[in-house]
């Protein structure tokens, strides 16, 4: 009974707070006023309206070679207005075939940071009017296209219903000792002074507080906040042959107290320097096809790029997409010991914060765990409120950066294996696989920066992933050797079928992913995996020479 009472009082506090919040109140009032008028506009009335306001406060401090190179403190608020005309079945957001997507040009609308209700309501009104007219124009084109073009292969509705949610969360603030952290950044960045062959190095601390306000005509009212601190170490150099080499080490946490201590950060700097040194002196690898291990974090990026982007719901529907997996539902697409989920409700993994965690998506839907692959069988997709065949509802993956239109995106991609072995055994398995294939060596990919994948129908359904640190593991027992100059290439279906075994060494990659709906924070969790065959091709190489004069060292006086 006590517990119930406590919960009830929390709800009351939340509701009271929501009523007092001038921003939410103004947004709700203007939403209701606009909806009342625009939903009666003939012949094309509005049936759904949503305002999302993102308040972003960002502090960025950067240091190089012992000095602060820049320090910024910026606060903005941006508004997105989503207008839907027509019906859930067919509305203005429907894909227009054969027309260029002009949504790429949309720019964010600035709104006051000082809670001024008069200014906010004028801006809301003006933006709504503009969006409504543009939506009407688009809807007429959609209706016309229905008449003149063939029916799409997926005739699912354009929008799904979602329950009304009211939520007002704790609003956190950026809180850290700037002087102390500036001194830490100076100290850490000064380590690079002893390495003149590193041309660019940087340690940056970026603190972001993002508060999202969302109201829509479903009755949803949300106000929630996320805080991220990202301490990032980066270094760049060039090999003698002009190849540009880059390594970085991100540390993303929700509370500054959870950042690694100075000893650990110094260790990361040293490790990065050692790896970069090994890389610049490493031999170039010729194109190769054979067994390889993708180390946990690298494997997380690999899955994000080659698989994650292809299971985004909207790609299964678009007539322009390659739809690699659309018709493979309930079919085996990878070995049965692999399952893949996207679970943005996870805020931590083994005690570490996950960058891709969020409470609600940008369509007012609570985040949910989406089962994508269960025991090798494709079971689902990442869904926004744009339904696809057999998936009429959102699973809370509609995301965007301010100023963009929502599409389905990854949050926390979790690759789970039921065939795990300790890493030493995985390495042995790699050598065995090489022997079996008569290969003198296999490869281990330790770090991957990202990649490109063509999902469009008019391009080849291939991917390219950019490894940063690769080692050659010899069958004859020679020590492992750092190598450079390769990119991983392949086709997704074939590559996934080549997984033979995984490690038990799960690790996290915390990053930011850019796609149609802009940049969003993401995480990938994965064990290391052994693949029986991976193909690498020569990396495009810079043609510049390393610097002519030696790096300056001593002050002249």
């Amino acid at each position: 009974m006590k517990k119930f009472f406590l919960c009830l009082s929390l709800v009351l506090v939340h509701q009271l707070f929501a009523q007092k919040d001038i921003v939410l109140k103004t947004m709700t009032a203007e939403l209701n006023r606009s909806y009342k008028i625009l939903s009666k506009q003939k012949p094309y009335p509005l049936y759904f309206l949503q305002y999302e306001l993102m308040d972003e406060h960002q502090v960025n401090i950067s240091a190089t070679l012992g000095v602060i190179t820049s320090e910024t403190d910026e606060h903005h608020r941006y508004l997105d207005v989503d207008v839907r005309i027509g019906s859930y079945k067919l509305d203005n957001t429907h894909e227009i075939r054969g027309a260029e997507d002009d949504d790429w040009w949309s720019s964010p609308i600035e709104v006051p940071i000082d809670d001024n209700p008069d200014a906010l309501e004028i801006i809301l009104w003006s933006a709504t009017d503009k969006e409504f007219k543009s939506a009407q124009e688009k809807y007429i084109k959609v209706l016309n296209e229905r008449q003149v073009k063939v029916l799409e292969s997926d005739t699912s509705p354009d929008f799904s219903k979602a329950p009304a949610i009211e939520y007002t969360g704790e609003i956190g603030k950026i809180d850290f000792d700037r002087a102390l952290w500036k001194s830490h950044l100076r100290e850490l960045s000064a380590i690079f002074k002893d390495y003149p062959w590193i041309y660019n190095s940087n340690i940056s601390l970026r603190a972001t507080s993002l508060t999202k306000y969302l109201v829509n005509t479903d009755g949803t009212k949300l106000k929630h906040n996320s805080i991220r601190y990202n301490l990032r170490i980066t270094a760049e150099t060039m090999a003698e042959d002009g190849m540009e080499l880059y390594l970085s080490s991100p540390n993303v946490v929700f509370d500054i107290k959870n950042l690694p201590d100075m000893n650990e950060l110094k260790r990361q700097v040293d490790s990065l320097i050692n790896n970069l040194d090994a890389l610049r002196n490493a031999p170039m690898v010729e194109p190769y096809s054979g067994p390889a291990i993708l180390m946990n974090r690298a494997c997380g990026v690999f899955f994000h790029e080659i698989f994650g982007h292809r299971i985004e719901g909207h790609r299964q529907k678009s007539e322009f997409e390659g739809q690699t997996f659309t018709k493979k539902l309930n079919e085996r697409i990878m070995p049965e010991f692999i399952s893949v989920y996207d679970d943005p409700t996870m805020d931590k993994f083994e005690g570490n914060d996950l960058n891709g965690y969020y409470l609600f998506d940008d369509e007012g839907v609570r985040s949910q765990r989406a089962v994508i692959v269960e025991n090798g069988i494709l079971e689902g997709f990442l869904m926004s409120r744009s339904p696809i065949a057999k998936f009429p509802q959102s699973n809370g993956h509609g995301r965007r950066q301010y100023g963009r239109k929502v599409v389905s995106r990854q949050g926390v991609l979790y690759v789970k294996s039921s065939k795990e072995v300790p890493f030493a055994q995985l390495r042995d398995a790699l050598i065995d696989e090489c022997r079996k294939q008569n290969k003198p060596y296999g490869l281990i990919f330790y770090d991957i920066s990202g990649g490109f994948t063509t999902t469009g129908r008019y391009g080849p359904q291939t991917f390219k992933v950019i490894p940063l640190l690769v080692k050659r593991v010899y069958v004859d027992g020679r020590p492992d050797e750092v190598v450079r100059g390769v990119d991983i290439v392949g086709t997704p279906l074939l590559s996934l079928s080549k997984i033979v075994l995984t490690g038990d060494d799960y690790d996290i990659f915390n990053g930011t992913c850019g796609a149609e709906s802009g940049w969003v924070p993401v995480s990938s969790i994965s064990p290391s995996i052994l693949v029986s065959e991976i193909e690498v091709e020569k990396k495009a190489k810079g043609q510049e020479r390393p610097p002519i004069l030696p790096a300056p060292t001593e002050p002249s006086r």
Binding site: E30, R33, S34, I37, L38, Q41, T64, L65, G66, V67, I68, T69, S70, E71, T72, D73, E74, H75, H76, R77, W105, S107, E110, V111, P112, I113, D114, N116, D118, A119, E121, I122, I123, W125, S126, D129, K130, F132, K133, K193, Y199, N200, E236, T237, M238, E244, Y246, G542, Q543, E544, R545, P547, I548, L549, A551, P552, T553, P555, S556, R557
Partner: protein, 600 residues
């Protein structure tokens, strides 16, 4: 106007004279360094890092079998900036920043033929940057040296590649540019004070919010903002010819923009700006009155119907319109007078065109009526107690800025020059501006404080009388008075890209459209605001059609903004001008349905 001190120099130098200048440069370098040795400036860590890396690079930076650089200049812009913006009484942003950017001008070859004035696409700019880089904002010798070293290296390699391609281009074309690429100058050693960044931020914030609220009372205004910007800092300059100087940088701006919708659905945008060098240059009471009047005019415009007839006849340009007229045709025409060579036509087609340098071949010829003379006076600080913002004592190439006579009694006598000569002018007058384009950077000569001096001045009443007489001659029953032309507001990168793609390859009109147009009724003398007219085919000839000018000068401070993101503060001092004949044709603006829901 006493203009005796202004020298217009354009003479052709022979190579011997250049050698003498070089010797002179050497002597002055020695003198300059002696002067500085005792000065505080030499203790500046930034200057020390720049100087040490410059000395090392000029003597030792050399790729085997390639030439060393013969010229290296470092320019650092160290600026603190603040921006406060508000809309309809709500604060949009309130941000401060500090940046320190290094710009490298490195040349290989020689003064006759170097890597400049040639636009091509070369590789580079990855790990090792070229042309410019960010420097640490904290003074630490080693970190500064490291950044300067790398960008110098990248710029040197780019310069070698560019020069090789330029030579190949000339080889293929069987032609050569016989005009020197670069000219020697006396090193400048002016040291201006270190700029102070002083501002009552709370007062400014309150004023910006208050001004932005003015627009709340006009329901026809759909979008608007008021922005305050202030930057203060210094330009540090150093080159291997011995120049070492420090320029104070300051600009304070209040920018106002609004978009309104007329009763017939037409969207009307207007932008106005107020500038000074110091915070105290902005008189908030005057500005408030000006914004109110400006908003009122915009409100009146939305109530107007479009003009139903074209117009041919005399036009009187007043205030901002007269200043923009002189700047857009003459000011831009005497700027950037040496067009660069493009390696291929595709590059040239993809550059945005800006009407720069159209007077470069008209030296000695008539460009204005004989009663008008024009000067570009960067050293002029104010005019009739109004601050001018276009000036500077040292230009972006570290050269002492000289006042220059551009037009004497209607004939073109000078141009705004940088260190890139043309056939008839082989000297700079210190008007260089750093200019970025999508394929690289260069320096261009650009006007600073453009002063129009007329000997045929009449009072406002006489001007109107003359306008009416001329209009009657044309058989019109009204005459046209224009008080404002469209000016360009600051644009985001995205907005500039959009504009760039829309306008690629198109030649922009010589004069922007009129915004505030008045119809003077010849019978009743009533002035009536009208809209829906635009200029038809303006040519430089228009300047020669000036019949007479007013007797009062208008001071116009603004920022010139181009498609590539270059921004230069400019001042124009000009009287009202009466043009004998112009054609104005009907123009329709963008029409959109009126707002559906009433404004809250």
């Amino acid at each position: 106007m006493n203009m005796k001190k202004i020298n217009s120099k354009f003479e052709i130098r022979n190579p011997k004279q250049i050698k003498i200048i070089n010797l002179w440069v050497g002597i002055l370098t020695l003198c300059a360094s002696l002067t500085f040795a005792a000065g505080e400036l030499n203790n500046s860590i930034l200057f020390r890092a720049l100087s040490d890396e410059l000395n090392r690079s000029i003597t030792r930076l050399q790729l085997e079998s390639q030439a060393k650089p013969f010229y290296i200049a470092y320019r650092v812009l160290d600026l603190k900036e603040i921006e406060i913006r508000a809309s309809f009484g709500g604060l949009l942003l309130n941000n401060e920043s500090h940046s320190r950017n290094l710009y490298v001008d490195l040349r290989v070859g020689n003064y006759q033929l170097d890597n400049s004035n040639f636009i091509c696409q070369v590789s580079g700019g990855g790990v090792i940057e070229t042309d410019e880089t960010r420097l640490p904002v904290e003074d630490e010798y080693f970190a500064l040296r490291q950044a300067i070293w790398l960008v110098t290296d990248g710029t040197y390699k780019k310069a070698l590649e560019t020069l090789a391609r330029k030579k190949a281009y000339f080889q293929n074309k069987q032609t050569n540019d016989t005009i020197q690429d670069f000219i020697a100058v006396r090193p400048c050693s002016i040291i201006e004070p270190l700029a102070k960044f002083e501002l009552d931020k709370n007062k400014v914030k309150a004023k910006v919010i208050e001004f932005s609220k003015i627009f709340n009372k006009y329901p026809q205004i759909l979008e608007s903002y008021v922005a305050f910007k202030f930057y203060a800092g210094n330009q540090y300059f150093l080159n291997n010819e011995g120049a070492k100087n420090l320029r104070e940088e300051r600009l304070v701006s209040l920018l106002v923009w609004a978009k309104a919708q007329s009763d017939n659905g037409e969207l009307i945008e207007d932008f106005t700006e107020f500038h000074g060098k110091d915070f105290n240059d902005l008189d908030f009471t005057t500005i408030e009155n000006a914004i109110n009047a400006w908003a009122e005019t915009l409100y009146m415009m939305v109530k107007l119907k479009d003009s139903e007839e074209d117009y041919t006849g005399p036009v009187l340009f007043l205030g901002q319109a007269a200043c923009e007229l002189f700047f857009q045709i003459l000011g831009l025409g005497v700027s950037d007078v040496r067009a660069p060579i493009y390696e291929n036509e595709i590059l040239e087609r993809n550059m945005s065109r800006q009407n720069l340098g159209i007077f470069s071949n008209r030296l000695g010829r008539r460009v204005l009526p004989n009663f008008i003379s024009v000067y570009d006076r960067p050293n002029k600080k104010e005019w009739d107690n109004t601050r001018l913002v276009g000036g500077f004592t040292i230009d972006d190439q570290g050269v002492r800025a000289e006042d220059v006579e551009l037009v004497k009694n209607g004939k073109l006598t000078g141009l705004s020059m940088c260190r890139t000569p043309i056939a008839k002018i082989k000297e700079t007058n210190g008007h260089a501006r750093y200019y970025k384009n999508p394929f690289g950077t260069r320096h261009i000569g650009f006007v600073s404080n453009l002063i129009i001096d007329s000997e045929q001045k009449i009072s406002a009443q006489e001007l109107l009388k003359k306008l009416k007489e001329l209009a009657q001659d044309y058989g019109n029953d009204f005459a046209i008075v224009i008080t404002k032309l469209v000016s360009r507001k600051p644009e985001s990168l995205e907005e500039r890209y959009q504009r760039f793609y829309q306008n690629r390859g198109k030649i922009p009109p010589l004069l922007s459209s009129p915004l505030n147009i008045y119809k003077l009724n010849l019978k009743t003398n009533a002035l009536e605001l009208i809209k829906g007219l635009d200029f038809s085919q303006v040519t430089p000839r228009m300047l020669r059609d000036i019949v007479v000018t007013g007797d009062k000068e208008y001071v116009y401070n603004f920022v010139y903004r181009d498609d590539n993101g270059n921004e230069y503060p400019v001042s124009v001092v000009a009287p009202a001008v009466l043009i004998e004949e112009m054609d104005l044709i009907q123009k329709k603006g963008e029409i959109r349905r009126l707002p559906i829901a009433p404004r809250p």
